[in-house]
């Protein structure tokens, strides 16, 4: 028996790309215009205390561009610099962008999350930045802007980043994407390895990974790890995402209550997936994006009116 060999498609990988490469590939060619670019050298005023090197853009790229001809605001975190964590400058750039989206009212915002959470070396400033971003994000949504989160980077989307993701109008996530509040190591440190073995990658992904998030309704779209796929998902979700108001919050309350009700007693991702009606739950983690998307759409239609 012979088979056709797999040839890795050479479409640029989202996971491997830098924040700038993601932005460049996501938007219409040549359309991106950065605000406070690296040449302005607006670096962190705090990292020096820890003798840590700074990055000219403080780990986030914000600006404006076009997606399929229409204007969008975009912010992309660089997960390799300080784990993509929110510091004072980093956070303020995103706050400013979202406040602008609020005032512009109809321009969608794409947030390319890639973050371990708050940058601990400037923890108070970073924590407050999350609060400010959150408020600006919701003001933008209430004014009519769609805010779409795209998650599939090295650092995942943890801590305050996870909360911000939960505030977006819609989320697209890839296999690599992880969304959570407490990171695996933090849980292990605080609760012991019996509660959570942070070195067990399979466990980490079953718990926080993109597939579980899509299956429980924590993300609206599951995509292949390519910039192309994230672009398509962004276009799709901008159209589907809900406005923000009391009805949406009530729908979300019901959605989350149903989840607690159905899965609250599950000990593992596998149990949830079985409960969802997936017979061979153990095969889910190894599934290709295409197969998984088909399965997920069959099991749980994304609902776009409840976040």
């Amino acid at each position: 028996m012979t088979s056709t060999p797999f040839v890795r498609h050479n479409a640029p990988s989202w996971y491997e790309a830098s924040a700038r490469e993601r932005v460049r590939g996501l938007l219409d060619a040549g359309s991106f215009k950065e605000f406070i670019g690296p040449e302005q050298r607006e670096t962190s005023p705090h990292l020096g205390i820890f003798d840590l090197p700074r990055q000219f853009d403080d780990g986030i790229v914000v600006g404006r561009g076009k997606l399929s001809g229409k204007p969008v605001f975009v912010a992309a975190q660089e997960g390799r610099f300080m784990g993509g964590a929110f510091g004072e400058v980093h956070g303020a750039k995103l706050t400013g962008l979202l406040r602008a989206a609020r005032d512009a009212k109809s321009i969608p915002v794409l947030i390319l999350f890639d973050t371990g959470g708050v940058r601990l070396q400037e923890a108070n400033a970073g924590e407050l930045a999350i609060g400010e971003i959150m408020r600006a994000l919701l003001e933008a949504r209430r004014a009519g802007a769609k805010v779409i989160g795209l998650i599939g980077g090295r650092a995942g989307c943890y801590g305050g980043g996870g909360l911000l993701a939960g505030c977006c109008s819609a989320l697209a996530v890839s296999e690599h994407g992880r969304i959570a509040v407490s990171g695996p190591e933090v849980i292990e440190t605080n609760r012991g390895v019996e509660e959570f073995d942070s070195k067990d990658r399979s466990l980490v992904w079953r718990t926080m990974g993109g597939k579980n998030r899509r299956l429980i309704g924590g993300a609206d779209a599951f995509v292949d790890d390519t910039i192309e796929a994230f672009r398509a998902a962004a276009l799709f979700l901008i159209e589907r995402a809900p406005a923000f108001g009391l009805d949406v919050l009530k729908a979300e309350q019901a959605r989350l209550a149903e989840r607690l009700n159905r899965f609250g007693a599950c000990a593992d991702g596998l149990d949830i997936w079985k409960q969802e009606g997936i017979v061979d739950a153990a095969s889910v983690p190894g599934m290709s994006a295409e197969d998984f998307t088909a399965l997920a759409n069959r099991i749980r239609e994304p609902r776009y009116d409840a976040r």
Binding site: P38, G48, P53, Q55, E78
Partner: protein, 105 residues
């Protein structure tokens, strides 16, 4: 943090018309290079900020070679280093110049 600044004469002006480009990230074993077209055509400047001390002579050798090989006239290159190896530095410098010389990216 240790900082260095090197000024060199370059043989010719770097080609292309882009005003600036940036490559790399500040991460363990990596670095970012910001390149800006802000100097007279035969001058080149490299600014380095690194948390790893004691490698001054290596930086100097890498940058001297770089100027010789790539002739980055008119360019100012600013480096934030995350503890990169010399060959990675050389590669990023070359990538930075390629990026600013390319059109349309």
């Amino acid at each position: 943090m240790e900082t260095f600044s090197y000024r060199h004469k370059a043989e010719r002006r770097s080609t292309g018309s882009k005003a600036q480009a940036i490559i790399g990230v500040v991460a363990s074993g990596n670095l970012e290079v910001l390149v800006e077209r802000v100097l007279p055509d035969t001058e080149c400047q490299v600014e380095v900020s690194t948390p790893i001390t004691g490698f001054g002579s290596v930086w100097e050798a890498v940058i001297t070679d770089f100027v010789e090989r790539r002739s980055p006239g008119g360019l100012k290159l600013s480096i934030n280093d995350g503890g990169a190896r010399a060959d990675t530095v050389a590669l990023r410098l070359a990538q930075a110049v390629r990026l600013i010389e390319e059109e349309g990216r």
